[in-house]
Amino acid sequence: MTLEAKQVSFSISDARILHEVSIRIKDKQFVGLIGPNGSGKSTLLKNMYRLLKPESGTVLLNEQDILKQSSKSIARNLAVVSQETPVLFDFTVHDLVSMGRTPHKKLLELDQERDFQIVKDALNQTGIAHLEKRSFSSLSGGEKKRVMVARALAQQAQVLILDEPTNHLDIQHQLQLMDLIQTLHLTVVAAIHDLNIAAMYCDQIYVLKQGRIVCFGTPVEVLTPALLQDVFGVYADIQTHPLTGKPYLMYIPEQFTKQALETT
């Protein structure tokens, strides 16, 4: 299943956040979205999962306009792990993950054995089976994040949108989560802060700057010192890691780059 944004523009009051942004995620492709704070990554994703409505342009899920599909059928095909986890009232972890089954349920239908199994699998895959009976509000930030991922897995959608999925997670769980998502072989688009994570897992990377796509391609093509300087305003040394074969970024703070300039 494919997901595509075509010429999407979006404004908040008078400020243009997105300028005719187009991105395309092919079937089973893992696409990363990188860019500095305020570049429009989250806003673009929110437009793609229908929380926000584009001012102009269209979003296509499975080659069809999402505004012309029912909320329920979209939810069966598209799962989202957003940045926010604002659960105010108290639900148990099991309750929350079970909610991922909602789009598959008819009005009168009760949870079946199959649903329980799917929820159980999702809990196991994200390593939170032991938290099942805990109340969500008592969890740590990282645990909450994994519950949200488990809920998206329980949704069993073909397309996954992730807004900074590794936020709040310790390094072990960051890698575990990204590994898990990679092994699911879904169509994935993720806004990613950590460029090394993006380099390691993405098939394609789009770079956003001030609401425009400035560059896209494989991690090797995109992650260059010149681009990092231009978009993020940092200097980085980029190597290919001998074991992973992926680009590996080492940021050099300004004080050292100045020194280097002075000595040469």
Partner: protein, 348 residues
Amino acid sequence: MNKKFMLLSMTLFLVLIISMTIAIMVGSVSVTPFYVWKVILSKIPIIQNSIEEDWSRSQEIIIWQIRAPRVLLAAIVGAGLAIAGAAIQALVRNSIAEPYILGISSGATVGATAVIILGAFSFLGVYALSVSAFLGSLTAMGLVFFLSRVGGRISVFRLLLSGMAVSFILSAISNFILMMSKQEGGMKAVMFWMLGSLAGAKWSNLLIPIIIFIVVFALLWLHYRSLNLLLLGEEAAVTLGVNLQQFRIQLILLVSLLTGVIVAVSGSIGFVGLIIPHIVRLIVGSNHKYVIPISALLGGIFLVWADALARILIAPEEMPIGIITAFCGGPFFIWLLRSNNYSFGEGD
């Protein structure tokens, strides 16, 4: 949870039946539970023949004509207000929302007084009161909802403030209508609408509240998944396939309808819609699969007792039921506020 829920609901149902029986027994003339059930069973078509009539005519009138409809109305009103409160709390994602605080009851009151005093909608006959109260509550709720939206989102502070403002304005309007009417006992009528009373219960005005309650209860319960998602927030609701706009409008209509017909028969009884859902969440958690039915049962039990107290506390005078619900509800709410392990929905 399912077993625990079954057990809990069965127990509460039993408590409700016992409470209703006791409430029919007490009063200026007390009757035994034995007679209460005999008289009630004698009204059921198939089994009535097997019951021997050994009670007096006055006992029958007290049990069947006076107390039974009133107790049943108390149960329906309590159950209805409780589920209306639970639904509104999910709708606005705020735990201090209830029909009374958000001005919905005041809206219904305006509609009801307009019918009774001014004779509005007289072409609708016996349905005039309910229709008019429904329109009143719908207008109030729509207004409050509209006033509290900022950039497409509901602001909690605005919600409460606009609820208060709308509520004050509408109460003023209905009180004005009542005071200006040249009818006897204008003040008494104001008291009735402001503090609520079930004294007007008759079999003939029970039908509409019962039907509307059953319909709204069934629809809310069927949509328990969507209500849960609504409680999680707009983002969760949208990404898990709830048509937010449509579902919100449906909820507003259902809650206004229920509140409208309840206020039309009982005036505005505060606190029930607020505290009952809280107690229920304390017991069963936030899942509406359990919150809706348990709220209905507990709300019913609570109001049956409140009404029984209203009748006997200062007999032969009658206490407005709103005084009792506020007296029980207020301190409980304060206790809830002070207890640390209860989430009011304010987040971390």
